[in-house]
Amino acid sequence: MKNILKTLLVMSFLWSVPASAMDVMDVVKQANHVSYYKGNDGRAKVNMRIIDAQGRERVREFIILRRNDDDTDGKQKFYVYFNKPADVKKMVFMVVKNMDRGDDRWLYLPGLDLVKRIAASDERTSFVGSHFFYEDVSGRGILEDTHVMVEENDTYYIVESTPKDPQSVEFTSFRSWIHKATFLPIKTEYYDNQGQKIRSYTALKVEMIGGYPTVTAASMEDHQTGGKTLMNYSAVRYNVGLPDKIFSERYLRKAPRKYLR
């Protein structure tokens, strides 16, 4: 009896992890690369529509500049310049994403001419009041989860990821549908310990920009509150030639107009 059970379990395990041409880590690495590291740098105008369960809408609009330190898909710098809403216009949020420790973050408040250093918060809190988390915008470290390829079909690699440190996150696992031809995650669903879907990301539109397939519209839904955020990217460019020096206090106080137009 025990042996039968064992065999069945092993079979079930084998069946759920079909032999793939690609190792799951390679898939995850590629997906991380095309989602967050395309080109040496990039810029985009982002429009967020934050819609709550009652249908009330908030709008955020900002320009995001990103620069990779090198080609190892590691350290990155982000410069986020706000246009909307009006009360945060000209405000700048700057992040240095570190691999070995927490991010460094700064906020520039133009009314006070104040450069404020902000404590690196929990990566899984709302980014500017939207349903996207900081981590959704800048990427979640691929080593923070254990990844298992649960299925592979003609179109997708389906990867299940479970956190190595469950205390640090609000989900128990998440599942990504990674498009085989482009490695873009098309859908990501987050589950709680009951297996209930609590949050889901969906890529709504993909366009070819500068040779890179790019998600230009996406949504993040919170199934617990019923709210969602629609994110649209426009004026996307890669390999702009962003100098490293614009990610500094000098350019927090004096916005690098050339790259923000």
Binding site: M1, I4, L5, L8, S12, W15, S16, K45, R58, P85, A86, D87, K89, R101, G102, D104, G111, L112, D113, L114, V115, R117, I118, A119, A120, S121, D122, T125, S126, V128, G129, S130, V150, E151, N153, T155, Y156, I158, H179, L184, I186, T202, L204, K205, V206, E207, M208, I209, P213, T214, V215, T216, A217, G227, S234, A235, V236, R250, K254, R257
Partner: protein
């Protein structure tokens, strides 16, 4: 056996469910070259922004020296920014209707009257490694949160205590700011050709303890000053030399000018004075544990002979240590400790006339800030408390704001002063404790 099968089914079932076909997003499978949409953005030939707000508040107790209404104003801010090839012109002005003050003639230095110009400047980069900003501008540096040591740019303490938006704590400077950027090493030089004082507590809006008179004083008898006002003679120079070491930011500071609020008195005229002041200081700021820690220090060198002159404030050593971190989701806390130490204390004691109020050598101040965001960050609850164990006084700032829409915000808040003595820093402001409410529309 049945259990085992059920278990296996449970293991397999989700896999079957996940095998559902999900919809391909638009564009995938038929990857088109992006058609760049033209930016429909600005129709104006310049960038326009600003807000309109009304703000009303009243004292929580009777103040024999001031009106019951602590703030009652309608404020329109218009900001215009225009970029030319290599320079940017920026103009921000407030237009205010404020019945609390009885004087409405415009004074651009003190902010009195219907118009208060906050910015009127031109920014340009004459050299690759140099930025220049000339004109009226708001300037801030240092690591403190609502406490300043090396930031000797003008503050507006009246605005701060009556519940205007935080940005009004900073009064504008008329200055030339030049920044030099040599890789890791940076230098800011700020020259103010004519002294810009704080918009200090002078009694016209907020009552205070008048040490010369030995009693509380207010609008019936506002402070009369002899303000240094010679162009290029009574000037100010502020320097900051800074660089980062990894995640740690360090800076050295120097200031040469005047005490920003009165710190002396002319014995013959009784006028309040702004004695000469030099400040030498330093800051360090960087990550510590799960938060951000900072240390700021400054040596205040007052006018010559200050130590033995009871009418001029002594030299001081000032220190500020701060730490901020996220405590829980959307909940941030910070603590600060501030020390103000009077130097040459023995000489100070010896110079005091009989019966004078004696300040302690050390003024200790502890501060705590708690900020909680709720409802997709539309609702903000904030508390900031100053407490001084040496003065046995304090100041509590409370604020709740809610964004009804992206551009409409309602706010209620309070400024509560407490203390045992009428003459201590916050204790003297007890009769000014107030609550306020505001409605603001941003555009």
């Amino acid at each position: 056996m049945a259990k085992a099968v059920a278990g296996i089914l449970l293991l397999i079932l989700p896999h079957i469910l996940w095998a559902q076909e999900i919809e391909l997003p638009a564009g995938l499978g038929n990857l088109s070259t992006m058609i760049q949409e033209a930016d429909e953005d600005y129709t104006l030939p310049f960038d326009l922004s600003g807000f309109l707000e009304s703000r009303i508040g009243r004292r929580l107790q009777n103040d024999a020296h001031e009106k019951g209404i602590s703030i009652g104003e309608i404020r329109l801010q218009i900001g215009v920014e225009k970029e030319f090839d290599s320079l940017t012109f920026n103009f921000v002005s407030d237009f205010i209707y404020d019945p609390v003050l009885n004087k409405h003639s415009v004074d651009l230095e003190t902010g009195q009257g219907y118009v208060d110009i906050r910015e009127a400047n031109i920014t340009f980069s004459p050299l690759e490694f140099m930025d220049v900003k000339v004109g009226r501008q708001v300037l801030t540096w240092g690591t403190g949160d609502l406490v300043f040591i090396n930031d000797l740019f003008p503050k507006d303490w009246n605005s701060f205590f009556i519940g205007r938006d935080d940005e009004y704590l900073k009064a504008p400077s008329d200055a030339i700011k030049t920044g030099f950027f040599f890789g890791n090493y940076n230098l800011d030089i700020i020259y103010t050709p004519r002294f810009d004082a704080d918009r200090f507590i002078d009694g016209s809006r907020i009552s205070f303890f008048d040490r010369a008179g030995g009693d509380l004083s207010g609008r019936e008898n506002p402070v009369v000053t002899d303000r240094p006002d010679r162009w290029f003679g009574d000037d100010e120079l502020a320097l900051r030399f800074y660089r980062s070491f990894g995640a740690y930011e360090t800076a050295l500071y120097y200031y040469n000018g005047f005490w920003k609020s009165p710190a002396g008195q002319d014995i013959t005229t009784g006028q309040a004075l702004f004695p000469r002041l030099q400040v030498f200081g330093a800051t360090v700021r960087g990550p510590l544990s799960r938060g951000i820690a900072s240390v700021e220090a400054g040596y205040y060198k007052s006018a010559d002979g200050a130590a033995s002159n009871p009418l001029v404030r002594n030299d001081e050593f000032r220190l500020l240590v701060g730490y901020e971190q996220e405590i829980a989701t959307e909940f941030t806390g910070s603590v600060q400790y501030y020390l103000e130490r009077k130097l040459d204390y023995d000489q100070y004691l010896a110079s005091l006339p009989n019966g004078a109020i004696i300040d302690r050598q050390n003024r200790h101040l502890f501060m705590i800030r708690l900020t909680k965001l709720l409802r997709q960050q539309d609702l903000r609850l904030s508390l900031f408390n100053f407490y001084s164990p040496s003065d046995r006084d304090g100041y509590l700032r409370l604020n709740i704001s809610y964004k009804i829409r992206d551009n409409i915000k309602v706010e209620v808040g309070g400024n509560i002063f407490y203390g045992q003595k009428d003459y201590s820093f916050f204790g003297q402001l007890k009769d000014n404790s107030n609550i306020f409410t505001a409605l603001r529309y941003d555009f």
